[in-house]
Symmetry: C2
Subunit: 150 residues, 2 copies
DNA sequence: TTAGATGCAAACGGTTTGCAGGGAA
DNA sequence: TTCCCTGCAAACCGTTTGCATCTAA
């Protein structure tokens, strides 16, 4: 399922996860690696229910409880990022750790566009100085629609 | 409860709401105005449950269903703004329509700081040009903690 | 008079929890 | 062998919905 050219990259992800599990005294169960693999084989954003269905379709025996549990670990070691785009359920995406980006959400379809603007980083730095705080993470999300042709 | 100096401002809010209700053929019920008053007598952010408890304490007979219903109307006429700060429940605040601002959330306490940075507006404009979209609203939220004294 | 609004309680749906059985170490 | 982890199902909790009653228009 994963393209040959991505095998090495995924192997690296695996190692990061393994290292995290070992350092925290967590067991390296097959379920955890299966979930990791499924997530990194997925493009774009996903929610727990979608992931659950997808894994069921792939004939993996997995429970929602384990999905929630494992996602928590993946968030903790920064392999996955969590979003709350104004809906009542959480959405996730695998972290690239390379390309920082923010989101534009289409009001009608919920479709997600990604963009990057370096000025966010400046805002963050000024904020930290102004209030004497330390930013651990942030979310910048725009909502809207295609420009109506006037 | 509302200071004399704010009476005029609130009267103006009332008029905006009345106008909205009339234009949309909605009834001007006492419940709706009571909820409006309670919200505008509140500083900072609130959630539905908190508002419900507060109104019960003030001996107002009100149901959660009506709160959700009325909040929907207040959102629609831009008198109230909705936030989803990563929790699984929504938070709201009365709109000032004057001071645009964004948020910093303390990871531990959930306390909310407000700040303003004009560069967000520039990012928005560039985004609209770049993708040919129209932004209806947005959210910029930073999360973190007080800087550790080194 | 009557259609829209309210209060109440049940239903809904995403997430969390309790627990018996299973498997990594 | 130990006890952490899993699957399952029930519990949880914020939000939505159904319905009988009420009331603004």
């Amino acid at each position: 399922m994963i393209k040959k050219s991505n095998e090495d990259a995924f192997e690296n992800i695996r190692l990061i996860f393994t290292d995290y599990l070992e350092r925290h005294g967590h067991r390296k169960t097959p379920e955890r690696y299966t979930i990791l693999r499924e997530i990194f084989a997925t493009e774009g954003h996903f929610d727990i229910e979608t992931l659950y269905i997808r894994m069921k379709n792939h004939k993996y025996r997995v429970s929602r409880a384990t999905l929630y549990n494992t996602i928590e670990l993946l968030l903790d070691c920064n392999l996955v990022t969590k979003h709350q785009f104004g809906t009542n359920y959480a959405q996730f995406e695998k972290s690239t750790m390379l390309k920082q980006h923010d989101h534009f959400i289409f009001n009608d379809s919920g479709e997600v566009l990604e963009f990057y603007d370096p000025r966010v980083e400046q805002i963050r730095e000024d904020l930290e100085k102004r209030f004497g705080v330390e930013v651990t993470h942030y979310a910048l999300t725009f909502y809207g629609q295609s420009k109506s042709t006037k």
